[in-house]
Structures are given as structure tokens and as C-alpha cells.
């Protein structure tokens, strides 16, 4: 009987790691193509519509970039909490709160002119996200309440708050009583260039650089990393768990709130009709992106790009290939599982012996 053994690897170079990721991604793609062929799809059709068009078509690129920006910014925020060993899943709610705050500013100060209006909107989004993140932050820091529960529940509270606003005080008088708010004033809309939010991309990339520096080269980052790797030693060394919890929640809330502000001001312009219409549940997608990056800020770029491509690919499967939702789930599953399996291959060597 053949015997399978797993041997732990000790040091894995970054080159090997990156190469393995690329190879496993390609393997996942090949596996998915095989599934598609088994499903009965035309090979040329798949090749063109799922792999060539997304790269060559500007329209497809626009779709990918539109998801890339919020996923990138939000997952970058989550990465900070995960670095501190705090497992927040609350980016979704913080994103929603960010958009609510932007809407509030836009309705309250409708007459503001650009660029002050835009700056105000973005700051309001940050503030909304921070305030929402501070709730689990304070509960964690001062009462040691499990953040997984609080953040998840606050996501639903954020949805309910949106529902209250779009069904209640903010319901547009022109919407025939449908749950929609008034669209933002023109001065609160961030322009896109040829359908791409250059400002959003610029903000995201500069944030990635800034967070990378904060985590790796500042005392704040030092505290976050030390606490995340070994909370007992960090505590014994005088690092305050309170400070770490508050700081990471503030930073991740700020980024999620900013993503919410960008979603509202560059894509959706109004709240409703569903509480997740502005967030598009990307706060949850970002959790996957953060972990795929292996909590490395610079790797947020490829990780969130991959997830944006998967969203676009999912739409292509349904709209361009005319296939059902199930195939989309299959694609997401296959690609993500092969990437997760990479972790395993990188950490263990599989030895098969024939006895």
C-alpha cells in the first residue's frame, strides 16, 4: 500500500512562494476550464470571454477596477486588525456607516462647492467608519468582548440603520415612496476619467504605501505586530492591548469608511433600495482579500485585483456565457481553494512511498 507522508518545510523563500502562487492559480484556471468543458461550454468561447476579453476589453477592465478599489482599501484596513491578532469581520458595517455619513454631509451641506465638498465627504466617510469601528474597539479594549461577535452583529445593525433611513427620514419625496434617498448633489460626485476612478486608484495605492510604512517602520506598527504575534509577551513588555485594539479598529474603520465614501460618491450616488446597495457586500469580500495577501500590505494589490477579477469573471460567466449562478460559485471555489491549497504545499512537502 502506498504511504503518504507530510514533512514540514522550515524556510520558504519569497521567490518560491510567489512562483507557487502563480503556478497554483494557473492550475486552478486549468481545472476550471476542464469543468467548463465537461459542462458543455465551447472552449474558444470560454477562452475569449473569460480570459482574453477581461484583459483586452476596456469595458471589462473598468468593471474590474470598480471592484478593485473598494476591495483594496477595505482589505487593507482589515489587514491591520488581523496583524494585531484581532479578527474583525466588521468592515461591511463600517463601509455602510461611511456611506451614511457621506450622505448626511451631502444633504446637510448641499451647497458646498468642489473640492471642499469632496474633502468633506471623504472625511465624513472616514469618521463614520471610525465611529462604527470604535464600538467593537472599545468593547474589545476595555471589556475584552470577542470582536468576531460584535463586528458581525454590528454589520446587521448598520444594515438596519440604513433601512431605517431609506424607509424613513431620508426617503426621497420623488421616489414614489420607494426606499431610495435623494441622489447626491453634483458637487459631491467624484468624477471618473473614461469610466475609471483615477482618484480612487490613487487613494488606494497611496494608502497601501502608507500602511506598509506604518506597519513596518513605525512604533505603532511595531506594537501592532508584537501584539499580534505574541500578545502575552507584548503585554509583559508594556504594550497596551487597549491601545492596540483601539488603534487597529480606528485605522481599519477609517479605511472601510473611506471605501464606503468612495462607493457612494463615485458609483452609486444614493442610498437604497437595499441596505447593502452601496457596500455591495464588499466588506465581506475584503476579508478574503486580506487573508489572501498573507497580511502583507503590498500583496493587497494582487489579492484585491484577483477578487475584483473573480467578480468580473462571475458576471462574464452569467452575462456573456449565459451560464447559471452555480458555475460562478464553482469558479470562485476552484480558484480560491487551489490558492489556499498552496499554503499547504508551501508548508508541507508531500512524500509518497510505495511499500
Amino acid at each position: 500500500m502506498p504511504e503518504v507522508r507530510l514533512l514540514r518545510r522550515y524556510e520558504v523563500s519569497n521567490k518560491l512562494r510567489i512562483a507557487t502562487y502563480i503556478v497554483s492559480f494557473i492550475l486552478g484556471v486549468i481545472l476550471f476550464i476542464l469543468v467548463e468543458i465537461a459542462y458543455g461550454a465551447d472552449f474558444n468561447d470560454i477562452l475569449f470571454k473569460l480570459f482574453i476579453k477581461p484583459i483586452t476589453s476596456y469595458e471589462d477592465l473598468k468593471v474590474t477596477l470598480r471592484y478593485f478599489i473598494p476591495v483594496g482599501i477595505t482589505s487593507l484596513g482589515l489587514l491591520i486588525t488581523y496583524r494585531a491578532g484581532i479578527y474583525s469581520i466588521g468592515a461591511e458595517g463600517q463601509l455602510v456607516l461611511g456611506s451614511i455619513f457621506v450622505a448626511w454631509v451631502a444633504y446637510s451641506f448641499a451647497s458646498l462647492e468642489k473640492p471642499i465638498s469632496i474633502v468633506m465627504a471623504l472625511l465624513a466617510g472616514v469618521l463614520g467608519g471610525v465611529m462604527w469601528a470604535l464600538i467593537p474597539g472599545v468593547l474589545k479594549g476595555f471589556l475584552n468582548v470577542n470582536e468576531v461577535l460584535t463586528t458581525l452583529m454590528l454589520n446587521f445593525v448598520a444594515y438596519s440603520l440604513t433601512d431605517y433611513l431609506i424607509y424613513g427620514p431620508w426617503r426621497s419625496p420623488k421616489s414614489f415612496n420607494f426606499p431610495l434617498t435623494e441622489p447626491l448633489n453634483e458637487s459631491y460626485i467624484i468624477p471618473t476619467y473614461m469610466g475609471v476612478s483615477i482618484i480612487g486608484i490613487a487613494i488606494m495605492i497611496s494608502l497601501i504605501v502608507i500602511i506598509n510604512v506604518i506597519i513596518k517602520y513605525t512604533s505603532i506598527g511595531y506594537e501592532i505586530r508584537a501584539y499580534g504575534y505574541n500578545p502575552a509577551a507584548a503585554y509583559a513588555a508594556g504594550i497596551s492591548p487597549r491601545k492596540v485594539a483601539l488603534l487597529t479598529f480606528i485605522l481599519s474603520g477609517a479605511l472601510a469608511g473611506l471605501a464606503g465614501a468612495l462607493q457612494l460618491t463615485t458609483v452609486h450616488y444614493r442610498l437604497g433600495p437595499k441596505p447593502w446597495s452601496v457596500s455591495e457586500s464588499l466588506g465581506y469580500t475584503s476579508i478574503i482579500a486580506a487573508w489572501l495577501s498573507r497580511l502583507e500590505p503590498l500583496a493587497i494589490l494582487p489579492a484585491s485585483m484577483l477578487l475584483a477579477m473573480l467578480i468580473n469573471g462571475g458576471l462574464n460567466i452569467k452575462a456573456s456565457l449565459g451560464q447559471p449562478e452555480g458555475i460562478v460559485n464553482l469558479m470562485n471555489g476552484i480558484i480560491l481553494i487551489t490558492l489556499v491549497a498552496t499554503e499547504f504545499v508551501l508548508n508541507y512537502r508531500v512524500v509518497i512511498k510505495l511499500r
Binding site: E59, N177, G322
Partner: protein, 432 residues
């Protein structure tokens, strides 16, 4: 099965209407749309229809194929809203197989509709139906960006040169269901499990309550909101709480047969609770509990729209005022616990045995006869009855204000904006 048997009949009806419609359009040229400038959009659309039914012109098929795509918010297997639209899509695809090619995209999250539409246009679709209210902004954005593509948005109110709207409303059926509910309730308490507090649902609750009141003036309609279009556990909890309050007849707005199942459970346990099916045939989920229900036939609307697009009657410049607000008289909706079963035969004798006074003529007749009379009155191309028309007495709101004066009717816009309950409804409209 009964649905199958009926299809030829419907087909004939539908084709007739379309042919008539197209003919009427060609005959009356562009007179109808321009008329709309004066009052509301719907009225004009209705005017168009009533005008055209009489004329008959044959459409000669052209060799050109038309590609139409449907965008659904849910999975096609959801047994509710998206399912009903997809049944209609398959119907028209078969009906117009010579020149129509269709496609669909299921489970599209509402904010992603714009991205999906662009991809569909890339695939060569020339007509796009988006079937959720939440698709409105995305569809309009695409309509402005792609002036050569025709868009139709279901249940919204925004239109453009190349974007029309359509809706098949169920309020007349809720009224008919209300007549039966009022007759059947022993406790005088009728329940309604409601989805979201939007005008559409409120209108349906009111129509239902008006039906109840007509046959049973002392009965009350109790409303419980579940704040979801699809949430079986919440629907179950709401239904059970209503039953606990003494309610013995239930109507609902929720995309699952849950409420029907609850009613059937109570009925088979010896505590009769009756229910009215919503949107899809649900008789099989409650053979002893379902009295009747509301059914939709989107194919009537789709066939009409597509035929007019194909003939050129609708093009990318003249849809700004095209709003379908189709009811019983256009065949877009139907009364039934199932297709072909307007009333569950088990309840026909009961309903025939209950005598009431018909409120317009003052004649004594059975509830069954009243239901059938009203059904026929509303099916007439020139409906002789509308639940929201007050005859001799005014229709009052919960706080005693006059909603409709005697001799008056609510307009389309009144119905679209409805945010108050009529006087025999117990419950409030949240976050108003």
C-alpha cells in the same frame, strides 16, 4: 397541468392583443404617445390599449432576428418573482421562435446590474428587461449610455427615450381574495403577512381590506411586517403570531409558500386557517387551506412589448412615456389558487352558501357570485368596477379621513404613492 391546457387559449388571447396593439399603433400612428403629455403616463398607456383592441392588422414577419435578455434579481428556481418572469420569458421565446432569441442572467445583485447590462450589450442583445425595482438606476444609466438599445424596467418609475417601464399589479386580485376572506372568517380577524412598507404592498393590503369590508363590515385586517421579500422563518413566525391573536384567514406578500404551509398545518390539525396564494400557484402546498390567490402572467406584457419592438412601433426614441400598468383587463394577472383553478373547489359550496348584499345594486347574492361578478367586471376591457372607486360611501383611512369621496376613484399616481391604511386595517406603517 391545468396551466398547460390553458396555454393555447392564452396564446390566442395574447396574440390577438398584440396584433391589435400593433395594428392600433400603426393605424393611429404616433397619436397615442403624444397624448400622454397632459396627465399621467399610465392613463395614456391604458388609453392606447383600449383604443387599439378593436382594430386588427396582421404583422408580416421579417427575416431579422431580435435578441432580448432578461436580468433577474433572484435565482430562476426561487418559485417566486424571478421564476414567474422566467416562465414568461420561455413562453415568449416559444411564441416568437421565428424571430426572437432570448437570454437571461440570474441572481444579479442590484448594484451590479449596470455591469451586467454592458456585458449583455456586448453579446449583441438589443432589448433588455430588468426585473427588480433595485435595477432602476443602473438600467437608466445604461439607457443613457446606449441609446441604440431598448430597455424595459419592471416596477420602477424612471423612463427614458429608450427605456420603458411595466408592471402587472395584483390589487384587484387582493380585493377579490378579500371578499372571500371576509366571508370565511369566523373570528372576524383576518391576517396579512407583509414584506416591506412600500406603496405596492400597502395598496395590496388596502385592496384586500376593502374586499373584506364589503362582505363583512365588522371584520378587521391585522398586519405584521417582516421586512423581507423572502424570509420563510420570519413569515412563519408572523403567521403563527397572527393565528395566536385569533386570526383564521391569511393573505401575504412574501416569495415562498410558507404562510400557506402554516395554514395547511393548522387546518389538518383541526383548527381551520385559510390562506391565499401569492404570485405563484400554491394549491399543492395547502390543498385544504388555500382558498384562492393571485397569479401573474408576465407573458402578456412581454409578448406585447416584443411584438411592438419587432414591428418598429417601439423604438429607441419613443419609450419615454411607455408605462405598462396591466391588470385583469389586459390578462396580465389572474385569480387563482393555481392556473385554471380560480377558487379551490373545496370552498366553492361554502362560498355559494354565504349570502351578502351586493353593494352597488343592493341585490342579495352569494359571495361566490359576487366574486365572479367583480372578476368579470374587472376583466372587461373597459372595467366596470375598481376597488378604489367609492360608490355611495366614502373610503376612509385609519384615522377617519376621507381617502376617496363617493363617486371618485384613485388615480394611478394615488395608487403609486399610497402610504396610508384604510379604516378596517389594524397595524401601522413603520418609518413613515
Amino acid at each position: 397541468m391545468s396551466a398547460r391546457n390553458q396555454t393555447p387559449l392564452i396564446a390566442v388571447l395574447v396574440v390577438l392583443i398584440i396584433v391589435a396593439g400593433v395594428g392600433g399603433y400603426l393605424a393611429g400612428s404616433s397619436a397615442a404617445p403624444t397624448k400622454t403629455v397632459t396627465t399621467t403616463v399610465t392613463q395614456s398607456a391604458t388609453v392606447t390599449m383600449t383604443k387599439t383592441v378593436t382594430t386588427t392588422v396582421t404583422v408580416t414577419p421579417q427575416p431579422k432576428k431580435l435578441k432580448a435578455a432578461w436580468v433577474y434579481v433572484g435565482p430562476i428556481g426561487d418559485y417566486g418573482w424571478s421564476h414567474a418572469h422566467d416562465v414568461a420569458r420561455r413562453y415568449v421565446e416559444q411564441l416568437f421562435r421565428d424571430w426572437l432569441v432570448t437570454g437571461y442572467v440570474e441572481s444579479v445583485e442590484e448594484p451590479k446590474v449596470y455591469d451586467v447590462i454592458k456585458k449583455l450589450i456586448d453579446e449583441g442583445y438589443e432589448v433588455i428587461f430588468t426585473t427588480s425595482f433595485g435595477f432602476m438606476d443602473g438600467t437608466l444609466k445604461a439607457a443613457k449610455e446606449y441609446p441604440n438599445v431598448i430597455f424595459f424596467h419592471c416596477s420602477g418609475y424612471k423612463r427614458w427615450d429608450n427605456m420603458g417601464t411595466y408592471f402587472a399589479d395584483l390589487y384587484q386580485l387582493y380585493y377579490l381574495n378579500g371578499l372571500m376572506a371576509g366571508a370565511l372568517t369566523k373570528s372576524g380577524k383576518v391576517g396579512y403577512v407583509a414584506a416591506h412598507p412600500i406603496p405596492e404592498v400597502i395598496r395590496h393590503i388596502n385592496a384586500f381590506a376593502l374586499g373584506v369590508k364589503e362582505v363583512n363590515p365588522s371584520a378587521k385586517v391585522y398586519v405584521v411586517w417582516i421586512h423581507a421579500w423572502y424570509d420563510p422563518p420570519k413569515a412563519r413566525a408572523a403567521a403563527e403570531s397572527l393565528i395566536a391573536q385569533g386570526v383564521d384567514v391569511l393573505a401575504f406578500t412574501e416569495d415562498s409558500p410558507t404562510v400557506v404551509e402554516v395554514a395547511q398545518e393548522y387546518t389538518s390539525r383541526g383548527k381551520p386557517v385559510y390562506a391565499f396564494a401569492h404570485y405563484s400557484p400554491m394549491l399543492k402546498y395547502g390543498p385544504d387551506a388555500v382558498v384562492s390567490g393571485q397569479l401573474v402572467r408576465w407573458e402578456a406584457i412581454y409578448a406585447d412589448i416584443l411584438a411592438k419592438i419587432y414591428s418598429g412601433a417601439y423604438n429607441t426614441t419613443n419609450l419615454r412615456n411607455v408605462d405598462y400598468w396591466w391588470l385583469l383587463s389586459e390578462g396580465a394577472v389572474d385569480l387563482g389558487a393555481d392556473f385554471g383553478v380560480p377558487i379551490n373547489p373545496k370552498f366553492i359550496p361554502v362560498l355559494k352558501n354565504i349570502t351578502v348584499t351586493e353593494r352597488i345594486t343592493g341585490e342579495k347574492m352569494s359571495v361566490y357570485d359576487v366574486v365572479m361578478l367583480r372578476l368579470n367586471q374587472m376583466k372587461d376591457p373597459r372595467p366596470a368596477f375598481d376597488p378604489f372607486c367609492a360608490v355611495s360611501e366614502p373610503i376612509l383611512t385609519q384615522d377617519g379621513k376621507v381617502l376617496v369621496r363617493p363617486g371618485q376613484c384613485l388615480t394611478h399616481d394615488d395608487l403609486w404613492n399610497m402610504m396610508v391604511f384604510v379604516d378596517n386595517v389594524v397595524g401601522s406603517i413603520p418609518a413613515g
